[in-house]
């Protein structure tokens, strides 16, 4: 394939913050859809208990990168993943890894809220149920309550747990699916443009929530909003045409971008 003969794209790495504990590490990670190259030999170390923002113009491979981490690319027939990606030093693409169990460790929140056609309670209880995390009903109810509380939704839905999840507002639905994701107690949470369908107030709530979740999880979020990336993330990765162009602490990237493309993108000169 063409990219094997091309030189690997070069990435500008800013110095990592002191004491960074690596959670997710990608080496030579490439993804092709059929013949089209979507991700080209990405090398990246993502820290634990912090928020990493993926930014870049549309179609540059941000979502593709995210889907590598929980092997959601398996569900796309034409997708082919090469290279290595490790969580806590464990190879994700290894045959011995069961993607079903992996996805319990790596939660994912999508761009459009997608609650299941079930009640609010059942939406949150879904993960614990299929993974057998609760021994009895009370435990399950406790999990549901703590998850909804962590997602900042408990107060609003405590008295309507048995109404359909689809009856909530868009912002509430997004927090519901976040609660659904954290109900299985994952280690990494992936968020693909979690606020793009929401109004500013709902966005602010989700951002607050992301900031709280940082205490316990490694979060990786894709966003098109520079301001959001600057507000919520500690690390920022800039992708362009399938390549990781620049990666480092968010402050560094925004105040001192070293690659011309990064500079152009964050100053809004292309996108």
């Amino acid at each position: 394939m063409a990219y094997d003969t091309n030189p690997a794209p070069s990435t500008v790495y800013h110095p990592a913050p002191p004491g960074m504990q690596i959670k997710v590490a990608a080496r030579d990670l490439s993804v092709t859809y059929g013949d089209a190259l979507a991700l080209d030999r990405v090398q990246i170390d993502i820290p634990d208990r912090s928020v990493t923002a993926c930014i870049g113009p549309s179609g540059c491979g941000k979502s593709t990168f995210l889907r590598c981490i929980n092997r959601m690319n398996d569900t796309i027939d034409t997708a082919r993943v090469r290279g290595s990606i490790k969580i806590d030093g464990e190879e994700v693409n290894d045959r011995s890894i069961d993607p079903v169990l992996l996805r319990a460790r790596v939660g994912m929140v999508f761009q459009k809220p997608n609650p299941f056609p079930k009640t609010i309670f059942e939406n949150v209880a879904y993960g614990p149920r299929i993974h057998g995390l609760a021994a009895n009903k009370d435990e399950l109810a406790a999990i549901v309550e703590t998850s909804l509380t962590k997602a900042g939704l408990w107060k609003e839905v405590a008295d309507r747990l048995h109404q359909p999840g689809t009856s909530l507002s868009g912002g509430q639905q997004q927090r519901l699916v976040i609660a659904r994701a954290i109900a299985v107690n994952p280690e990494v949470i992936l968020m693909d443009e979690p606020c793009s369908a929401l109004d500013p107030i709902a966005t602010a709530r989700i951002e607050e929530l992301i900031d709280e979740l940082r205490e316990n999880y490694a979060l990786i979020i894709v966003t098109h909003s520079m301001a959001q990336a600057a507000r919520v993330s500690q690390m920022t990765a800039f992708f362009h045409l399938g390549a990781l162009v620049e990666y480092g602490p968010t402050e560094e990237i925004f105040t001192n971008p070293r690659d011309q493309r990064t500079q152009d993108y964050i100053t809004g000169r292309f996108g």
């Binding site: 993974h131 659904r180 299985v184």
Partner: protein, 590 residues
Amino acid sequence: MVRRYWRRGRPECAGHEWLAAAAPEKIMQITVLVALTLLVLTAFGFLTGRRRALAVRARSGPRLHSLPNYYGYYIALWTGGPALVLLAVYGAFGSGLVNTLAMSQLEREAAPLIAEFERQLDSDSDFIALLEEAAEAETDALEAREAITRARDAGLDPQAFQAALAGHTTRLTEIGARLGQRRADIARTVAARAPSSDAGIRARSGFEFWNSPRERRELFLADARAIAFGEGLASRNTPELRAAALAMRPVEDIFRYSVAALALSMAVGGLAWGRSRIKASFRARNRVETAITGLLMFASVIAILTTLGIVFSLLFESLRFFASIGWRVGDFLFGLQWSPQIAIRADQIGQSGAFGAVPLFAGTALITAIAMTVAVPVGLFSAIYMSEYAGPRVRAVAKPILEVLAGVPTVVYGFFALLTVGPFLRDFALFLGYEDAVTQSALSAGLVMGVMIIPFVSSLSDDVINAVPQSLRDGAYAMGATKSEAIRHVVLPAALPGIVGAVLLGVSRAIGETMIVVMAAGQGANLTANPLESVTTITVQIVTLLTGDQEFDSSKTLAAFALGLVLFVLTLMLNIIALRVVQRFRERYE
């Protein structure tokens, strides 16, 4: 053809040789000529409009409102439209008008015969006696009915009164038949008295028409028209019919020529009118748009009116049926015995039990249940496989194959059921030691019908499963669900309303299916839940009641309409529910 009929009839119909030569083809030619002229005029109108518009555009001045073609369409519409409407109206009502005019003339000429007939009827002692008897029977029947109501109100068993009522009704029918007989006899003697001159035959023709009941009148008119204009074949050819035909000819001619002239002048007038309106500011485009809207609306109105017409005729014939069984709708809907063949005998009309439709409902339900037992799992599972598991290559081959099933004519399924499945099931049952096994059984019809319905259920379910947003599947996978968990927990519940809709549509197909059951389920109106016996369904009974030589107003044939009404209401309700459910489902994911 027509001429041959005439030659055969000629000796009796002296003085009208010219009729034999008056070729219906000539009249045809006029119609064709008018239609062709209209076409030419319309085309000419289009060209004129276009040309004028172009001419207006060529002159400097205000901009032309519409493209030149629209002015052409506008004039063409004015040229062809009204004339076509006139022709259509004439086509629809013209013959009826001609018939009415011609026959009322003949009836006037028959006035002396009619008067004579009524005089004889009034003075005929037999007839009067029969009338009195009939009145008596009617009073008795009325009393019996009241007695039944009273007994019911008092909580007593009305059995005895019911038997009496049945007796009275039978007597009434009998008297009715004899009254008709006597009336016909008198009419024959009266008609025989008319002279066999032209005038006499015309009077006899008018009298025969006057004295015919509704259905006979229609037949009479149809035959007369067949003789006069070559519209189809006459079933009889009597002097009376020929006289009627002769009376129709001139009336028809006048109408035809004047309508042709009127249509042509309307076309020319329309052309001139349209032409006079064309100027730069004229909004031809909007006018044409209005005309198109009108045309489309007209088409839908026709569709709706036709449906309404069918429903109403079903309703009215059903009412006639219920009247003929003495309004005992309950006996029809809940009666346990179905034997319409006995009921055509006069002494059986109104006998309770003969028209109890429960065995038919039960048979329909049994076969439908068997069919759905086959169609729902197979159809649903194959839909799930096709939409969730099969790769694009498998789908490209398997889906069309499945849909071929939907294209197989039901009669083919029918003989497959009759010749292959039926005997196999019978032999298998015999082998298992079931002695009464028959070839035509509910099971074989149901199984084959199920196969027929599979593609329905599967392609509709496939659609609704595909309509479930991918984001829901992704959500389930991202939670760590396996493929079948994602399908069972998320995709199917989301698609459930649509699947229910698909199944209900399948059920209404099964209920309305006729050919397979006619061929494979047998005819016996058994009230049974045993799928190895032969049963009969609503549709099969409609077919048996209406095929063969039947008077179209006996209870037996009218019963078919009542069954049709039940069938209609049943499938209508199922379809409404199914559509509602599917719609609800659509809204959710729009």
